[in-house]
Amino acid sequence: MARNKDKPDIPPGTPFQRVRPMLITFFVVALIGPWVFSSYWLNTFSTVACLVLASGTVALLYGQLGMVSLAQFALAGVGGWFCLRLVHGTGMPFELALVLGALIAGLFGLILGLPALRMRGLYLALLTLMIAAAVQVVINVVGFPDGGPGWTGKVVNGQRMMIARPLIAPSDTDYFRYTMFWLALGMGLIEWARATLPGRAWGLIRKSEAAAIAAGVSVVKYKALAFAMAGALAGLAGGLLAGLNGQLDNTGFPVAQSILLYALTIVGGAYHWMGAVFAGLLIRALPALLNDHGVDGNLSNAFYGFALLISLIQGRKGLAGQLADFYKFVRVSRIVEGSIIWGAISIGLALAAVHYQAMGFAGALFLSLIALLFRQAIPGVCWLLLGFFGKRVQDTAEDVEAWFSLRLANLMSALGLMPDHRILKRALNVLFIGYFVGWVVNGVFDVDYTVALTIIWSSIAIRFLIQLLMHPAILPLRQKIDAKYPKPFAAYR
């Protein structure tokens, strides 16, 4: 990328500054989620949160040290097993069992990591795959504890028992927030480590182990640390899954799931926390959505293969990396302006929806916000898909689009309007995003399709009108703000 040599580089910020955006996101989701989702979807998203944490551990090992571990979901199973066993066996509080289960899984992860100190690449992947298979076999034979006697804690003939939800989170709503809390804690730990001493040591090691040794870094120690951390947090995710339903399914931790977790972490992006979020959503939320629409959720596996192929062609940063690259160009003025306009439109439309009794306030608010947030999404997706056919096709498509856009913009300024160089992309997006978001919310919120489509399209149309009419007035203000504040995410990673 061409850089201006005289421009000062933006510092990456303190560790807290670097973890903050993620914590705020999780907090907002935990706060708003229960208002807009039904109980079924809340439980789905609790599961998603667990999977995000598990995916975060895969990303930790792969992104920081380039080590492929296919056993992370199996380690979640281990954590879940010990959590269940401890609660059934001793009646200890769920939180304590959760943490102890995580620590035991961390120990397993550490043992798993020992051969990894000498192995890498395909051999390590194969080894961890074997371990995942071994865990699957053991769980099939032993089963998850359900209140029975003996060390396995398995009921032979009789009523299976479930563990109670934690005292502070008995309902689905509470448990969702409870899971989000642990997710924020776990991912926060990973991100904090990345931004401080361990992250720097991992950086040296992944560049070259020889250089790291020459610099006095103990490669063994920091690889072991990564494996122990990844194991413990995967175990935590397993314990949270056990707490969600009070039990675990013997078939719930197959090898295939571990491989899927790894593949989708690559699709989501292993170098940014958002990648884990994408992975979690893809594994659990997308199949649930498809099922909701009467389509077999397993169909999504076919799509995942395609997505993995694209992300391998597109570069190793995944969806999250591309999104983060996009954020780098965001200016403060657009954030302020966007927040005000989006907020106003969303609230207005939500009030209208309530007035005409089309749908609830929170749902409509959420819907129009989503529509506005995603108004650039479709061109991005098209661009990604074109990338499948190679860089040249992508470039040609961009050239064609630019040719038309330039002429359209010239026409607009000839008509005395504020020219918009992205009008073609916007039009494309407006057309399709309505259908797509409408389809999603039709499933998630049980909203009537026409109502959803109306809300989405009108919010985008109003936004566009405001932009068209008010742009000349806003422009100087924008420039003033941008001159004062630099791009906030320019150093974001």
Binding site: D9, R200, L204, R206, K207, A211, I213, A214, A215, G216
Partner: protein, 243 residues
């Protein structure tokens, strides 16, 4: 001061270093030799990546043969590599800080001072927050040197720091290398193919050829030595010149 006694390294049938005995005690020592002379192998022995078959090495009177590689860094042996090892997605400051994380300091302030001081010394204070992948080749080489200056080193070993540099960049590099003994009281051991750089920096130069010591002494004398010139350029006597 580096003392090497009867050093012998063997990889299968190949002997990259064969019975080398030498004492190097000037502040900046150069090492030259044709390809395959055993230069990098000697550096690897000094930094602990290669175990000698025979012989020993002492630095400042302390025996270092047998000490594990990562402990040598704490002892004060620092080196750079032919291919620079700057992590692409860490900033320059983080790259240097990563080294300081594993060195011993009296206080946080001393650590900070060492990190910023080293970056300032090589002349990169204006690139503190630039990520590794955005640094130029020259800046990456200089950053490597900055990394090697952390933690009161006793011996700084530079493996071809001038590779791929332009003339003006090389001049700046000369200044930096000459300044190292004054900056942190470390002895500098410099390997390079750029004879101009060696001549400008080194008080003393040693020439290796096929694992054996060919010459050792003040740099200019060594460079004028006919044996050295022959080893570098070959023997012209039996050359069939076309024109």
């Amino acid at each position: 001061m580096i003392e090497i006694n009867d050093l012998c390294v063997q990889f299968g049938g190949v002997k990259p270093i064969d019975g080398l005995t030498v004492t190097l005690n000037r502040p900046i020592v150069g090492l030259i030799g044709p390809n395959g002379a055993g230069k990098t192998t000697l550096l690897n022995v000094l930094s602990g990546f290669v175990e000698p078959r025979r012989g020993w090495v002492k630095v400042n009177g302390e025996m270092i043969t047998g000490v594990p590689a990562h402990e040598r860094a704490t002892f004060g042996l620092r080196r750079t590599f032919q291919t620079d090892q700057i992590a692409d997605d860490l900033t320059l400051l983080e790259n240097v800080q990563a080294i300081a994380d594993h060195a011993k300091f009296d206080s946080r302030d001393a650590e900070k001072k060492a990190v910023y001081g080293a970056i300032d010394f090589v002349g990169l204070s204006h690139r503190l927050n630039r990520k590794g992948d955005a640094l130029s080749t020259e800046e990456r080489h200089l950053a490597e040197i900055a990394k090697a200056l952390i933690g009161n080193p006793k011996l700084v070993m530079l493996d071809e720091p001038g590779a791929g540099m332009t003339e003006s960049e090389s001049e700046h590099l000369q200044k930096v290398i000459k300044g190292i003994p004054g900056y942190c009281k470390a002895q500098v051991f410099l390997i390079d193919h750029d004879v101009e750089l060696i001549a400008a920096c080194c008080h003393e130069t040693m020439v290796l050829d096929f694992g054996k010591l060919l010459a050792l002494g003040p740099t200019l004398e060594v460079l004028k030595n006919p044996d050295v010139q022959k080893a570098y350029l070959g023997n012209f006597d039996d050359l069939e010149v076309a024109a």
